[in-house]
Amino acid sequence: MTGLRVPPGARRRDLPAAGDRAAAGARAEPPDAGTPDAGTPDIVDAAGGDQRQRPVGPARLGLIGWLRWGWRQLTSMRTALVLLFLLAVASVPGSVIPQEGIDPAAVTQYYAAHPTLAPILARFSLFSVFAAPWFAAIYLLLFASLAGCVLPRTFRLVGSARQLPPRAPRNLSRLPLAVSYASTLAPETAVQVAGQVLAGRRFRLRSGDGWIAAEKGYLREVGNLLFHIALLALLASVGIGAIFGYKANRLLVVGDSFGNTPTALDVFRPGRLVTPADLQPFAITLERFRASYITSGTELGQPLQFNAALRYSTAPGAPVRSYNLRVNHPLVVDGVSVYIIGHGYAPQFTVTDGAGRVVFDEAVPFIPVNQTGLTSEGVVKVPDATPDQLGFAGVFLPTAVDSGGRLESVFPAALDPRVSLVTYAGNLGMNSGQPQSVYQLDTAHLRRLAIAPRPLAPGQSMKLPGGAGTLAFTGYKQWISLAITYDPGQLPALISGIAALAGLILSFMVRRRRIFVRAQAGPDGATVVDLGGLARSDAAGGFEEEFARLTAQIAGAQVAAAQAGSSVSPAPGDNPAPGNYPALGDTEGE
């Protein structure tokens, strides 16, 4: 392990001879190689009598030496703790600054509100903290630090699994807990009885000439290592989830269906190694959706319950199953979790163009801008109308009520729906190929048609001026928005977390302790029994009581053995020959 590095050229006459070293080692040797806690007090320099060697200057490190030094710094606990702290600190911007992965709209708003600061923050990846390179550097370094420390210690623990306790020190009275008393038993018997008691208490024993060393509490190191390995596994699980998992969003109108492919997903955030071919090929149809709301009291209009009746299949051609999707009761299909995270309305429009042909007939999802009445805004684009492309932008009110000349929605259920649209004609800008959001109208090349937006009830239509056509509001449907997540590291992370907790508890509750027993013949013929106890890392206390209890048990067992021995063993001087026993029935003697 360690040893003084002897520079080349030093003469070795100061080192003890091999035989001397063996003798010195028998006197006292380090408790166990590699664990640096102070053990028995009689530790001696591992190199024996080197103190008189000629002093050497500081050794110069080469590249290998510096690398080794760097590795030792990295795998030290101090570095690991600093990195853990940095990990927590680095997560703070992820909570304070809007994140792209969670709320891209908020990020856009931040850009609008802080036009000079936002690009600087983006440069340091502060809008996607958990995908940032510096965040990855922190947890990768933490990973390396943990692995570099834990794995060698694991090998050492496995190697020392059957290691015996150290030899009993010569002078037990120097141990923190020591007791000495006399016994009538012979030294060997006293030690043997003590060993039986300790073995009964599941101590690991090592016996020698007139002494016994007992040790217990190896589970503490096991718990310690379990905690650190579980922490490593937790990091790895989170990493696996991020690399092989994905998150996606999809808005689904009642009656529509979609398949889990990138073209059908509104938002798709794959992990690093996820390709479109890795997506589980399930398909979901939304049959019915019902939302119930509170209809009276102060919380009027708050949603009570969402029920979405789904039909799904795990692959094209597989049997179709039903599921009732509710909030916090996700559909789990093929390892992928599908949650319902929102809902809204999709008014249906039929647009007839100037040539009399139906060029649009669909339910258009409108996005809620107000949660009390679910007032929703949306856009209808009709790029194939003749003579001009048409665009409509407007508002859908589920329960429209006239308040002071303006219409507003007072309740989220569609009790009296109205839709009010502004009409545009011209060039929607779609033919140039630039992708557009389906929720935004680019009015740069559109002219507004001179028709006053009036609220339409279901079934009503409005005739567009200049022979541009007709728009009919034929009804409405509801839509739900689904969050699709696949995280293969979730279950391993849970198991690792539980294991880490178990390891921590084990390492706190189990104490490593040693008991030494020596018995030798005292000056007056009686046996002097020395008991010594040592607890390493006794943070929880309690070893003193245990030591006292064990002492009492050992002493009691020795007394009982002495009494039992004196009642069956012959008195000194009395040496009956086999023929000298009184015969049965012989009443002489007694």
Binding site: P36, W69, A105, A122, R123, A137, L141, G259, F360
Partner: protein, 209 residues
């Protein structure tokens, strides 16, 4: 895990300097890692792109004759309501184009596709469209606008796209070129150009002999 001082460590470094060097090392490594990708991430913000939706990464992939994935059974109903199956096109090179009427890049490539369909008609190359996430009225109006002469399958539930496990049409528009034996010979993600697709079809036709 506290280590006792070990013999052999450089004696020159005192404890505060050691701590400072550790911190410097951590900072340097982090900065080096941060310098790699900051630019790419900054370029991808929604404010710079103006929207948040799924856009595939552009690319044209040509599969060599020995390693072409088998196209799945593509069946369905056309926009006109008639049944259509890819199997009935065996022996012809088929260009399968995924599109939708609301998709702006699909509108940009539509004239090229219509023209190429007419150009290759006599050579036996057939074009089939797959209209996804769309309503029939808008799709038919799209077909009328661009004078598309080939049929399009109506696939509102993505069953056809889901069936492709290899050569996945990962964005729209996507175009797959399927050779005469039903294997995918080429895939283009994102819009096609007249010249580009023409060259690709010619290449597939030449290598399929």
């Amino acid at each position: 895990m506290h280590r006792m001082p070990r013999l052999g460590r450089p004696a020159a470094l005192a404890s505060p300097r050691r701590g400072a060097l550790t911190a410097l090392l951590a900072v340097l490594v982090s900065l080096a890692a941060a310098g790699c990708e900051g630019g790419a991430i900054a370029a991808d913000t929604p404010a710079s792109s103006g929207q948040s939706f799924v856009s595939g990464s552009y690319g044209a992939t040509f599969y060599q004759p020995g390693s072409r994935p088998q196209a799945p059974a593509v069946t369905g109903t056309t926009l006109a309501g008639r049944p259509l199956s890819l199997r009935s096109y065996r022996g012809h090179i088929v260009v399968l184009n995924f599109w939708a009427s609301w998709c702006a890049p699909c509108r940009e490539e539509a004239p090229a596709l219509a023209a190429l369909a007419r150009h290759f008609q006599s050579a036996g190359v057939r074009f089939i469209g797959v209209d996804i996430q769309d309503n029939v009225a808008s799709a038919e109006a799209f077909v009328r606008t661009f004078g598309i002469g080939y049929p399009s399958l109506n696939d509102p539930g993505d069953q056809i796209a889901l069936a492709f496990r290899a050569a996945v049409p990962a964005a729209i528009p996507s175009t797959l070129v399927i050779d005469g034996s039903g294997r995918v010979a080429a895939r283009i993600i994102d819009g096609v150009t007249y010249q580009g697709l023409k060259a690709l079809i010619t290449q597939v036709a030449a290598k399929s002999i």
